[in-house]
Symmetry: C2
Subunit: 413 residues, 2 copies
């Protein structure tokens, strides 16, 4: 595993406030490595609503199947996350393992197993020994405190080089409510969902269905507009929890998705998702450049998205960015292979605001030196104007470096 | 560019026989680098039939558009191939450049421009100065000889580390006919078509429509079942030429695709395509392992193909192979993300014949040491049994190494 922190990491972390109704604790349960913090328990007060979106993989992990089933109830009392083992492709053992983990957690917390949510990240295909949680979760339940946000974000990391957190405080009615989020990503990241694991917590009194609507709308242009390597995890999980504790301060209970009082909250919630998903791109395995692909002038937004994803997933485009080479030819290739409406002779392409190609050929004003200089920036924007319609879209990715190959060439060993 | 020959290169090259009606010559025209052989002229006798299949890119190169238009005539007298510049995304200049090249060639050969076929490979987005062919093609037309097959295969290389040729001699009726083929590949390779450039020549007297049928059927399980990096070139071109010269030795003229006399020829033709496409996989940029992905037990063949391609294009699977790691978890991921029918709990996965996963979990007989040993082989077969139906398919690819990133991170500079 890589040890150096990504050069694209944010310069500092936000102060993470307490969320009434949420307590956190972490431990080293020896899931894969001895002495490494690998379990997070989040305790949620009674009345907490839950919503979630998951990988679209046809071979989802056992915890994903568990959460999907338990979402029906809409209520949560505990979240157990482990790193080191994804409990994916583990057959009947995997299913038994989730059930046992939930039993241990439910006993520790004093709730029903239906109110326990699970997420696992790490190696696929290895049985997860849930007995390792025995004792550990009970101890965590006793020692959990409301302030351990950074510890929690660190506990869920695998090949991540920095913990990913975001926070916002916003008015709901006349009361202040808070949203905290954390994520882990790094590799095997492509919609849908993009990040492997992300958890959002708020004290706003939202019903489960409101929370679900916010999530569904929120991921479209954030986590689902993000790709590291085009590989969709079996475990991608984004869960949101609303404790409702802010009702005590006068925050109104919201049970309808279109409620106008939700406006500021919705914006802040969306911003948290955008912030976390950008952090995941900034910590793509081996990443040295954050890459924003903007496609405009498309016939439809889904068409713009597919072209943007074709560019963002192209190994040739990504290696060119790693080499600080404004190789617009490869961008043309990626537009062409997307299979979406495109007219070669109407295409214009810019790198970091400098137009290099226009009307299907090199821009007459092209200046190699100027472009080369611009490509040295840590963030590279590739903008493609298709010249066909008015739709646009944007996705985030990172470059493809030798470090990506090194990280993934000996991950299991 | 990489200079070392791929460790997966064939140990030797076949003796390439003469094909009556075909003469070859190469030169250094200074298209991109001075003193490097970068032009091939193939002279074809009167009566030569031609067929072709091309990239499905929505932004094809100017030579691809030229060839598509000229195929209507079904007759060829000259093929001009240059490396160094793909004449793709070059706008009106590109179109003018193909017309000028064809004019120069037609004058040199003494034929109509409609009988001139063109292919260009190399950098995209740079104008191709066709005046560089002036004089050069006339000289090549004068000096062309029937025996320069290896020179020709070398002239069309870009980042290839070895020239790719194949030959077969087979009976058509009672006469011997010969098929010679060459290809160049290396990167930006994914159906449809897989290789950037490939040319097949035969002295068999086949009509253009027969040749087109043979090509169309032949690429399906060869060039279209091949991927290096999932990136489809703007320039992919496979042309086949039949001089008909073997008619003088008594070979029957074939003008119907289903003609039973074609049986042996069809098999040999298909074998040439299979041979060349495998050589392209063996020379994938930075490749250290040839990877064969076999998917069986699928509901349909297209479904098996899509799952096989999802595995073959997964950066995580490809880097695992580079690391000699039988990481079946990543194979499960790639099956899951394909979006095709798959049941996690019925999946079995083998590496080089050793079953590592069975019924959706690790094979009870799994022996890490035995598998690790098997992964050291230069060819790795990944076999996935879906357990759903009877359809199967197979694709070829290579591993993803740091050298791929190095080759593509500074290609233009």
């Amino acid at each position: 595993m890589s040890t150096a922190v990504s050069p694209l990491a944010p310069p500092d972390f936000p102060e993470m406030p307490v969320i009434a109704g949420v307590r956190l604790a972490t431990a080293a349960a020896g899931i894969r490595y001895k002495g490494r913090t690998d379990v997070l328990l989040a305790l949620l007060d009674k009345g907490t609503a839950v919503a979630g979106v998951f990988t679209k993989s046809k071979c989802p992990s056992a915890p994903v199947e568990w959460c999907r089933a338990k979402l029906q109830g809409g209520a949560a009392r505990a979240l157990v996350v482990n790193s080191g083992n994804a409990n994916a492709f583990t057959g009947k053992t995997g299913k038994a393992s989730t059930a046992l983990t939930a039993q241990i957690a439910a006993k520790a917390v004093g709730c029903s197993t239906s109110d326990v949510f699970l997420a696992s990240t790490g190696v696929i295909g290895e049985p997860l020994d849930a007995t390792k949680f025995d004792g550990v979760l009970a101890q965590l339940a006793e020692t959990a405190t409301p302030d351990r946000w950074m510890d929690a974000a660190k506990a869920i990391m695998t090949t991540d080089t920095f913990p990913k957190v975001a926070t916002a405080t916003v008015k709901l009615g006349k009361a202040k409510v808070t949203i905290n989020g954390m994520a882990k990503g790094a590799g095997m990241i492509m919609p849908d969902m993009a990040t492997m694991l992300s958890f959002i917590f708020t004290d706003a009194p939202l019903s489960a269905s409101v929370l679900q609507s916010l999530l569904k709308a929120g991921v479209e242009d954030t986590f689902n507009a993000l790709t590291i390597d085009g590989d969709t995890s079996t475990s991608d999980t984004l869960l949101a929890f609303a404790t409702g504790a802010a009702a005590a301060n006068g925050a109104p209970k919201i049970s309808r998705a279109g409620d106008p009082r939700l406006k500021a909250f919705t914006k802040a919630f969306q911003q948290i998702l955008a912030d976390l998903s950008e952090q995941v791109a900034r910590d793509g395995e081996g990443a040295r450049k954050l890459v924003e692909v903007v496609v405009e002038g498309a016939t439809t937004k889904p068409s713009a998205r597919r072209i943007a994803m074709s560019i963002a997933n192209s190994p040739l485009v990504k290696t060119a960015i790693a080499g600080e080479d404004a190789n617009w030819g490869r961008v043309v290739m990626a537009v062409g292979k997307a299979g979406e409406p495109a007219n070669r002779d109407k295409l214009s392409i810019s790198f970091n605001g400098i137009r290099v190609a226009k009307s299907g050929a090199r821009d007459p004003s092209y200046n190699e030196k100027e472009v080369s200089e611009a490509m040295k920036a840590p963030k590279v924007q590739i903008k493609v104007a298709l010249g066909l319609g008015k739709a646009k879209d944007r996705v985030l990715t990172c470059d493809l470096t030798k470090e990506y190959v090194a990280i993934n060439g000996d991950y299991r060993s």
